[in-house]
Symmetry: C2
Subunit: 239 residues, 2 copies
């Protein structure tokens, strides 16, 4: 199939009806967090609105490209693997009056009906110091147990992302990106416990993950801890 098989795409312009929203998970050895942003407002306007990083898609980019671009624009994060998990299309999802005024400050058609495609991603919190871009006034981590009221239906989107994360994690399809490069088995267990939200038996857990060959021991141990130093591991190649 060649370029001649396609009619010309429209020019580089925003689609006012389709957006993407990104639920970015981070893990800091004790709790799961999601990345939230506050949008810049006009000078002097002190009302704040917290939201997931998200925005309209361009007419000539795919949804996956839009998610990567939006995440980069709002948080400076680049090269993150984002996975689509579901579409949200309630006709009133962006029509609550509590959001209108705020929305008007950065959308040309604030009352347009917008469906949004939810994406989730993982990053190592230690590798990333949230940094606001020109489009966001603040970017920060929030523990998933204390998410504030968010814009639109972003609380619902976050909840569903957590559910999908749990399901994918149990199928070993995702989640290991949250670990530091070198980690101990206790840290790994803590990640499992945070995501699955329950305690696991230490001996059984170790037997299981060691048999799976997903992790490889390093010729290295922890240092500077005030107890028996732990063996360090890394993720196996090929995953």
């Amino acid at each position: 199939m060649t370029a001649d098989d396609y009619i010309q795409p429209v020019l580089h312009t925003l689609n006012p009806h389709v957006s993407v929203d990104c639920v970015v998970f981070g893990f800091d050895r004790s709790a799961l967090h999601v990345l939230l942003i506050e949008r810049k407002r006009e000078q002097g306007d002190l009302r704040i609105k917290t939201a997931l990083p998200g925005d309209l898609v361009w007419e000539d980019e795919s949804l996956d490209e839009a998610a990567s671009r939006v995440l980069k624009e709002l948080t400076s994060l680049e090269g993150i693997f984002l996975k689509q998990f579901r579409a949200f299309g309630d006709p009133n999802r962006v029509r609550d009056v509590k959001d209108l005024d705020w929305l008007s400050s950065f959308r040309e058609q604030p009352q347009a009906r917008v469906i949004t495609i939810g994406y989730y991603a993982f990053i190592r919190m230690s590798d990333f110091e949230p940094e606001a871009s020109s489009f966001a006034s603040r970017v920060f981590w929030q523990d998933i147990h204390s998410i504030p009221n968010l814009a639109f239906d972003h609380n619902q989107i976050t909840e569903e992302a957590i559910e999908v994360l749990r399901a994918d994690f149990e199928n070993r399809k995702a989640g290991f990106e949250l670990l530091p490069e070198k980690f101990t088995l206790s840290q790994l267990q803590s990640l499992y416990e945070c995501i699955l939200d329950r305690k696991l038996d230490k001996r059984n857990f170790r037997k299981k993950v060691l048999k799976e060959n997903l992790i490889t021991p390093l010729p290295e141990k922890q240092t500077g801890v005030l107890h028996k130093p732990a063996q360090l591991f890394e993720l196996s190649q090929h995953g």
Copy 2:
């Protein structure tokens, strides 16, 4: 929250950028099928185009509502449970020249970039004689192993629906709607084999499904078969 909390929705008008497509599965005791349609064209135009039932969404309906409505308009099927499984947003997905002419016959903005939300559903083939509506010239079942070339990216959408169906079925989240009201264990096994695409052991299969309590024996047996008549079962309540 009252009606005053929402700004007024736009009038009843189509959103030219968002559509839904429905992958409807049927089962006839030996193979899985999907429901396909051919759109009506002008009199005398013999070129045909086969597609999944799907169309643009209205500005004031949810995606779920749109999927139900579109399915009803194109196939007369009503009251079917449809499950969203993913969004498709390649900017060129409706821009192949092979589709343009055909698309022009029923879309006002045939060259608009459209993202679509895929839904899947199950029905008992025995309960449904496909019936073309005023919008479709033909509605028919097609074995999933011999799907013809479809419009746009509908082949890809169908493939992904089958994958999701398999995954959901293995988690017992979906699929039993495909069975007739009364069925034998062999029919149930055949459904499993068609969906999972592999043979199962009869004795192990029976042990497993009987233990799960998802089905209940009826005080009834097959009649008129030229072999030992089988016990009939129905799905358990609450299921």
